[in-house]
Amino acid sequence: MTASERVRYQRLPGRRRGVIRGSSVWLGPDHLLLVQSWRFREEYKRFHLGDIQAIAIASAPRFHISTRSLGIGVLWLIGYAASGRLGSLQEPIVWTVAAALVATWAYLCASCSCVCRIYTAVSCDELPSIYRTRTARKFMRRVESHIVAAQGALEGDWVEAIDDKTIGPPEVTPVEQPAPGVRDAGMAKRRSGRLSAIFVGTMFLDAALSYLEKTHATTAVMRIGYAVMAIEVGLSVALLIEHYRGRLRAGMVKLVIASLLVTGITWYTPQLIASFSAIQAASEVRAGRPAGNTSVFRTRADAVIADTDIGAHVLWGVMGIAILTRRQMPLQGGAGTGIV
């Protein structure tokens, strides 16, 4: 092992733990190390303390679902599944807990979140591990003294001096390239905005229809439900194309993927359970036993899936409104993102 490999790093406040992606920032002897992991791979980026021009924290909503929040969600789901056995009295408590958990998460994501960017003369990079304002301040308290020790403190009238300079990489004017067949870039943007709004609308419509299907399951309601689901999938594809063309808000694409995942799970899981139940029932009948237990399990599982579907669509709808109503963040990293 070489000397450079034995560099000791101290973990800095803030850690992003996602299902697939993770991120953390570490302090080395003369640099900060940004580690971004993709389950089986880690990518590193180093920022020498002497090169850091500024660190900026901008308040912004961050709807990140961490593995910790997923764990809490799974615990709640277990509690919900168990509440059926405990009796109907427990159900309101379980739903109140769910509402409180979602409200806390939404509050943290909307009001206590931020985007943290680090600027050098040639780069502007986001630190994904720092997405809560409190953590960002803690991070700054740890890092500031090290950077000042490496560079020296700002002295004299730095405000006047800094006014003439641009922090971050030099400004590059982006060349607007309208999509083929679309003359006006503004028109294309409006179209993607309209698509997003319709998509968010279908989230609520889907939730309402799923609720109707649960309470008044008629053929007409089910057919409308299938039609809305088909529209929802079509809109998702259209929005993914808009994302590919670079005309979609950052959060919207995550919402589209999440809704497609939920739709896929709620569509295929009942079918899988039905197949499993049918096989189980057949084997029970062959063995000469009554096949009652599997149907009870199937009914309970269907109810859980239906409730999850309704809850998820309402949540996606609320998040969609939040994304649509929030002002567009102009800074997306890379060149041309100077802060002063």
Binding site: A58, V122, V148
Partner: protein, 181 residues
């Protein structure tokens, strides 16, 4: 961002989106980045390996090539030439922008094969071999311990043990069944 407001409060509203920003400017913001200007090599002077017209100022500490300021790559205390850096001869963990996490792979193999059980026969021994081969190799600049390898080895050994027991049990049952008849 309005700098005066920033200097007074440490916070400033973004002039574009209105979001509240906190910013910490540092001294490097006032310093212009140094630009490498290689000097012309005169007759009899050492010249850069890649730029024969430029005067050499240093030599690569690995291959010894003469380098002009433009070609010298400083990595910590070492000065290297771009080709040595590109060839990967130097401290891999320090230079590599990415690494494969073999300990995570070794841990996932036996655990994932519990769900996709037909792969257990291959996954458990593969995890053992991977753990043994990669045990002494550097993991990542920030990972200090090898608990994933340890768990992977333990889980793989249990799985292999259970598989062996299952095979022995089946053979014994078949032999017993055969001898009883």
């Amino acid at each position: 961002m309005p700098t005066k407001q920033l200097a007074l409060n440490g916070t400033a509203d973004c002039s574009l989106c209105g979001a509240l920003n906190e910013a910490w400017p540092f001294r490097a913001a006032l310093v212009s980045a140094p630009v490498a200007h290689p000097e012309e090599a005169l007759v009899g002077e050492a010249a850069c390996y890649d730029h024969p017209e430029a005067r050499a100022v240093t030599a690569c500490q690995l291959c010894g090539r003469f380098l002009c300021p433009l070609c010298s790559v400083e990595i910590g205390a070492e000065v290297l030439c771009p080709s040595c850096v590109a060839s990967g001869k130097v401290a891999a963990a320090r230079l590599n922008p990415s690494l494969t996490l073999f300990d995570s792979i070794a841990l996932t193999l036996p655990l994932a094969s519990l769900i996709i059980y037909p792969f257990l026969v291959v996954a458990a021994p593969a995890s053992l071999v991977l753990s043994a081969l990669r045990w002494k190799k550097p993991l990542s600049p920030v990972r200090r311990n090898r608990w994933r390898f340890v768990v992977a080895i333990v889980v793989s050994l249990i799985e292999i043990g259970l598989m062996a027991w299952g095979i022995v049990y089946l053979i014994a049952a078949a032999t017993h069944g055969g001898s009883n008849q």
